[in-house]
Symmetry: C4
Subunit: 273 residues, 4 copies
């Protein structure tokens, strides 16, 4: 993991998941709003998608857990060797992946066995995030200032994501909380890339000066720009999905849609006041 | 920004916005209470006001973002110059303004496109405040004790405002939370002025002794007095707005109002128990 | 304030208020439960009690604010004298009292003017507590370990009281939250006494060794014992009030009460499941 | 308590209680789901179980409180001896046990006297946990790094348990919060064992090197593995209890159960969307 690639891989993973979740949440919300006029998205479809999502999560987590153990120079499942702990950093990463695997398993179980409480995956997901934040918090003992700072920001964003997911668990079906979570996941993804660029510049340039206060001042706003970027991505996503659903709706049931949309729009604005 | 004027301008901005929000919240609340007897404030009016508010926010944020870049001695959009970061403090301020601009944009979008969730601007506003608190928190690396202390208090009030705004996002239409937020925004505004007076006395007097513990002891209660002042402003505001609405109501529909008010008053007290 | 009496007076004040609030909450709760059978407590009475409570708070706060200024050796309203701040500790205390006075004023206003939101006094009370916690937090710059520790515990209990009061503001009419707040207020009261005994032993004995770790270890559990004591006081209170209300009820309407109580009891247990 | 046994005993206690609570919560939830078709678990039975639970808690707490005082070398109720505090560590433990005893007493009172609010035991339990966390937080003044770290993790898990229990108090009857609490209690139990193994190895081996950073890195993930274990225990528990209830149900009312289950399942999935 102590390499550019080691940060780019989980970064890409989180970015893709964040993008996918923002699309799913928007789609669900828009379909629900439109459903009064025309049935587009069916519950069964969303169920199957959730199970697929769980399978993907399990697959990714398994790859991660096993990969961290068996890469050349990895611990190869040996925890204690020659009187000292054996490559604990890799064990840390394996543990994080394992908890995300648990989320995938719960996802699959919850959407196949109907007697399980439906908000269990949310709880497990917030647990996995809290565990990730906890491990990263204890990950950088004895490193240098810049290294600690970028990881602290990572802990901050992971902790906040866990908090938002826990809120989602308590208050179900709030689309804005879901999008907020997606934006934080996107931020985590791009921030992993940023850490890679800062600590292990891929161009072969020397790493940033770890004791320079200006670097910290810059990374502070850089973090905010990443966040702004994730907002813009989600906004464009939302516009695109809404436009796609509406255009598809018009093709399928052109006459009613036009009529009913006005009625609906008024009801909406009524509710929202 | 490192000047009296640099603190007075955002201070004035926040003070004016806080005042305006406290008026708006009170007006909305009083109109809602009176509406049972007489229709005064219309929904359409409030919608138009929100859009105007968004436009003002965007305008202010744009002025701020651009101003911080192009004032004489500003970074002029150059981030990295001659092997080091270029005036990061101004970039910090630009970033903060940018997020407030995003709030304005969301405000306009949400009240023109009815399919967007109505509580989105609240979420964006709490985000902008959290980002502001985060940036100010990392803003004072390596400064002196007094400077750090007054900025820490600023971070405290901004963070609390963000928290209250997030609560507003979750629990909509609670007038007291709205007034609490307004009072915290007022506090932020007057505190910016106080920082200006402490660090860059406009009278030309020397700055306060940055290592004197007594200055910190005084600024602690000074902060509380600012808060008390913001309460008093909001209280007077409330009294004034209520009196205006009621007097205008009496002129418009004198007979029913008198009769119905008693009925209503009893219902109110019933509900409030 | 730097004396035994200076800690005993606010201690007694908070203890009495805590006791009174626990009685009021219990009485309200028991009356509400019994009301289905027999009307004992009337709303009007509770209103008048609230106004009286507000008046008492204003009176106490006024005494405190003025007393801190005009005691022999007090600042006598002079904030800045001979090139330095004038007795800021007394100004700190005056500020705290002033905020509790504001609570009293809001109490009176809210229960005389019916158009004001009914939960305003709760919000003001939680604000007054947060301000008190904030001031005490910045109160002990440059003192000794034991002094700081006992004041930190004070800050902890005040902050928690503020938090519970804020929860009461959001979730109205939860009797257990009210009793929890009363217990924390009682704890604050007895802890003020404890601080007086630790820092200014009234018997004339020398103050406790401020650098002894064992003193801190003891005060940790002592704090918990105070808390346990406040629980026991509230429990006894509850038993007494319930017994009084029930016995008075039996005298007034003996036949129905007996009959209806069984019905009611079943309904209760139904609800509580 | 400064021994392996002193950590194993409370560890076992918490483990057993966590296991029992997870069984009870699952049983209650499954019975409630099945009740629409067949009445299995009765309210009266659950009431009696709660009272028994309270009695067990009181018994355990009494044993603990008294045991800590009268073990050979204990303080024997003497708080101050020969000019210094007498074995405060044991007094700390006694205080913790006492608060858990209070929970037991409230449990018994609440389920025998029906006029008491039903969520009182939850509040008392969260209070007991917060007190425990507070005492452990102030328990390790002046010890070594590893000792402090393992106790900090203990404080973390106890504080989180208190927080979850407080949430349960506010949001009643959320099965997932109950299971989350059980899992945290299980974690606390196994972590007590872990502390025993780290600080007082029972095999007679030397204690772990208290200044080795690698030990802290390992204990970080070890803590997460304990947590994962508690999840697995609760999952297996859930599967077992569900299977038992369903199989018993089939034996009792075979015909209707089959028919109704399908109907019910659809309703469930409807609700859960």
């Amino acid at each position: 993991m102590g390499s550019f690639r080691g940060h780019a891989i989980p970064g890409t993973f989180f970015f893709v998941m964040g993008l996918w979740w923002s699309i799913k949440s928007t789609l669900k919300y828009v379909c629900k709003k439109q459903r009064r006029t025309c049935y587009l998205g069916s519950k069964a479809l969303f169920h199957r998608v959730e199970i697929l999502e769980g399978a993907v999560l399990v697959g990714m987590a398994l790859t991660g857990t096993v990969g961290e153990q068996f890469i050349p120079g990895g611990p190869q499942l040996t925890l204690y060797k020659e009187g000292q702990w054996n490559q604990l950093t890799n064990w840390h990463h394996s543990t994080m992946y394992f908890f995300f695997g648990l989320v995938g398993v719960t996802d699959i179980l919850c959407f196949t066995i109907s007697s399980l409480p439906a908000s269990l995956p949310k709880l497990m997901f917030s647990n996995a995030l809290f565990v990730e934040a906890f491990i990263f918090y204890n990950h950088t003992h004895g490193r240098e200032m810049l290294d600690i700072f970028v990881h602290q920001l990572l802990v901050l964003v992971i902790f906040l994501t866990g908090l938002v997911t826990f809120m989602e668990f308590l208050l179900r079906n709030n689309v804005l909380l879901e999008l907020l979570r997606s934006s934080l996941i996107l931020l985590q993804g791009t921030w992993f890339w940023q850490i890679g660029f800062v600590l292990y510049p891929p161009s072969g340039a020397p790493a940033w000066d770890p004791m320079d206060h200006d670097n910290i001042m810059f990374l502070t706003i850089c973090f905010c720009w990443h966040y702004a970027l994730s907002f813009i991505i989600i906004g464009m996503n939302y516009a695109l999905v809404t436009w796609l659903v509406k255009s598809r709706l018009k093709r399928l049931c052109p006459s009613e849609a036009g009529l009913l949309k006005n009625v609906e729009r008024e009801q909406e604005s009524e509710e929202e006041m």
